[in-house]
């Protein structure tokens, strides 16, 4: 069988989606001919060739503003009329990861994907929601805090291999939510300091300050390395 995994992260490497896509590919190979391609690629012919004759299309992407990242959404919009012709009968699966701990917040994006299936005449397989997606970049999938994710990916891969449709599944790390939130907050502060940013600037503005700060060019000074 042939399976295409579409990596919907705008990043080419080290993204949570890329790591999840690679783990899925490892689960699906060698039982299936399984390739990963990037939605951010500008070569539409290459993407259509990757999808051609597939039995399953697996979209792996980060949740952006409660939905599908715009570049992947654009691709889906463009291919909705042709995809069932190049991959007739294919089942669509998606694994969506978000920065919040709660995996169920990926539910709306899965509905968008399901509606894409209906519009394009493909068959809906299953959605997998991955909460605290950023942890994938910090710990190995399948071990320690990501043991749950490893199990969820194996079950998801099993469904893909068998071409079955199943209820959406949601997975969160074996790691306490308060600790995840604390580490996330710390990480934002560390990154901001690394960019020479005073922490106060990460905090609230009054709308009256917008002109002074965001629109005055001070933000672009920082962009050039100033204070």
């Amino acid at each position: 069988m042939k399976i295409a995994i579409m990596d919907g992260s705008p990043k080419n490497k080290d993204s949570a989606s890329g790591l999840i896509a690679a783990a899925l590919q490892a689960e699906l190979t060698p039982a299936a001919d399984c390739a990963v391609c990037h939605a951010a690629s500008h070569d539409r012919d290459e993407i259509m060739a990757a999808l051609a004759s597939c039995d399953a299309l697996v979209f792996v992407f980060p949740l952006y503003v409660d939905g599908i990242p715009s570049h992947l959404l654009r691709l889906l919009d463009e291919i909705q009329n042709d995809v069932a012709t190049v991959a007739p009968g294919a089942a669509v699966y998606c694994a969506v990861n978000n920065g919040f701990y709660e995996a169920h917040q990926n539910g709306v994006a899965m509905e968008l994907m399901k509606n894409f299936c209906v519009r394009s005449g493909l068959r809906w397989g299953q959605g997998l929601g991955v909460g605290a997606g950023g942890m994938v970049q910090a710990a190995p999938i399948g071990r320690g805090p990501l043991a749950n994710l490893g199990r969820a990916l194996s079950a998801f891969a099993e469904n893909i291999r068998n071409g079955v449709s199943a209820d959406n599944s949601f997975v969160e790390p074996n790691f306490p939510k308060f600790l995840y939130n604390m580490i996330a907050h710390m990480s934002w502060r560390v990154q901001a300091r690394g960019n020479g940013l005073k922490i106060g600037r990460l905090w609230r503005f009054k709308i009256s300050e917008v002109d002074e700060w965001v629109q005055s060019g001070k933000s672009s000074d920082i962009n050039k390395g100033g204070k």
Partner: protein, 169 residues
């Protein structure tokens, strides 16, 4: 600058024909031709707070949002959500909120950067809109409003651009 900001995905000729010309009340932001897509770098949170670093007009939108009481998304309904052109602008505007988390209705959401957020009004147009797509759009609007700290939102559906634009008049 108008009190209401309209982010729309109409072609220029349609925008000129159908959108309100009252510039006291309305500000318009054209999502087409599309701005570049979000690169997922988070620099709008950790380097140039509140502003996207990609140098095109999409970088201005978050700041423009702060100047309005109401934000209208006039969008083609795509799979029960915003169109790719509108979504590209919105993905580039997450600097409007802070990276930090707060608990709201028992869920994690973002902390507001500013002391208020515009009300969100979704006006979708499309042919053969299904009930499922409407259901998804309502859930999406509710989730967006929570994450952008907007206290009010509404969603409506129309079968054509002229009909959807008419509700603005």
């Amino acid at each position: 600058m108008g009190r209401t900001l309209i982010l729309h995905d109409l072609r220029q000729s349609d925008a000129e024909q159908f959108l309100p010309r009252d510039s006291v009340k309305y500000s318009l932001f054209a999502a087409a031709p599309p701005v570049r897509h979000c690169a997922g770098c988070f620099l709008c949170w950790v380097k140039t707070p509140g502003r996207c670093v990609i140098p095109d007009r999409g970088a201005d939108f978050a700041a423009i949002m702060t100047k309005h009481d109401e934000l209208i998304f006039l969008s083609r309904l795509v799979f029960g959500g915003l169109s790719p052109d509108i979504k590209a602008v919105l993905d580039r505007s997450i600097g409007f909120v802070l990276p930090f988390f707060r608990k709201l209705n028992g869920e994690t959401h973002h902390v507001r950067r500013y002391d208020k957020s515009p009300a969100f009004r979704y006006i979708f147009y499309g042919v053969d809109i299904t009930d499922k797509e409407k259901e998804t759009a309502k859930k999406l609007a509710a989730a967006n409003a929570l994450n952008f700290g907007s206290e009010r939102f509404s969603v409506s559906f129309f079968s054509s651009i002229p009909e959807s634009a008419e509700t603005l008049l």
